[in-house]
Amino acid sequence: MSPRFEPVIGRYLHFDLLGKPHRLYVEEAGNGIPLLCLHTAGSDGRQYRGLLNDARITRNYRVIVFDMPWHGKSSPPAGWQNEDYRLTSRDYVRMILEVSAALALDKPVVMGCSIGGRIVLHLAHEHPEQFRAIIGLESSPKVDPYYDTSWLHRPDVHGGEVCAGIVSGLVAPTAPDEGRWETLWHYMQSGPGVFKGDLYFYMIDGDISDKIDQIDARRCPLYLLTGEFDYSCTTEGTLEVARRTGAQATIMKDLGHFPMSEDPEKFIGYLLPVLEEIRTGQKASAA
């Protein structure tokens, strides 16, 4: 293989986030409409490598991916050693708005997966005017706890091993091995207690069931894409959101909970018509 660089730029952004100085790792590629991407709980922006490297996307979109504080190459704020990390709906919404403002993005498209797919519903509810369009991957109004998350953060259980073990079945059984294990590797590298802290939002604080009916996809176009093998954010949950909001929903065959990293090529086939529709304002022919 001849050596080559990817057309992706990674930089550290210094700014005040949630009232504290932060050093946030941000990657981007492409030009055009800003597409701000949100990773899943306990993982990081590497999940969007497929998009960042796809010229079909980057010729019209400036794809921007940031690692949330505590995740990936974004460190926790100073003093982290004396607190338990716990993501709340309020902080998550503020984080996205503050990152968008710090990057001076003009009405970006925001796209998030899992916890990101949930928080974009909060954005659609509270701040639809700030976004050109909203894309929820693996979105559902709520997920009740179905295992004891304390197993994810205790010194006598390896956090990386157990986090990957918990989520392994959320990857579609049909996913290629490389995408499956790349996705799990990100989970294996998560910091202690970070996945558990994100799940506080996912399973407790981020429940938006009682506000779904107040979301109006006419105020900001809302697209939902969910893998058929996702048993956490179920296809039923996604279709319920679509029915109650007027969002456009697609169930993706042969994909699971991590479509952008478990099988990027297949996922991008579903995403391209959505991005084309957002860009042109006209429905694209199926990919």
Binding site: D156, I166, S168, G169, P173, E228, F229
Partner: protein
């Protein structure tokens, strides 16, 4: 359903390596039929069918035959592709001392996956 499980697991060098520090006995219940599975250094050394009077094991997986059939279906069925999918639907109960399971979760999922291959 578990006839060829030991041979399948023990023939999978990658799975045995993943479980090289696993030494425990766990229980698989299919309907009311209990099976004690003894693991030593990642290899299955004994599968003992019940009934038992005082079974001694660290943790148990209990589900109906229908649920196991769905988990082990050669054609993956959405909503039935993982033990936690079944737990979420309240079709599988995981009980006992979960520490050995949680410390080696990918290994035990691999073992149950091999049971699916054995069943097909």
């Amino acid at each position: 359903m578990l006839e060829n499980l030991a041979a399948r697991v023990n023939a999978d060098a990658h799975l045995v390596r993943r479980g090289r520090t696993v030494n425990t006995t766990f229980l698989i219940a299919i309907d009311e039929a209990d099976h004690l599975v003894r693991v030593a250094e990642g290899r299955i050394v004994e599968i003992k069918p019940g009934p038992f009077i005082t079974p001694n094991y660290s943790f148990a997986f209990r589900a109906s035959r229908d649920s196991w059939d769905k988990l082990w279906s050669p054609q993956p069925i959405p909503g039935f592709t993982d033990i936690f999918a079944l737990v979420k639907k309240k079709l599988l109960r995981i009980e006992g001392d979960l520490h050995p399971l949680m410390t080696h979760l990918l290994y035990f999922k691999g073992v149950l996956g091999a049971a699916g291959k054995a069943a097909s």
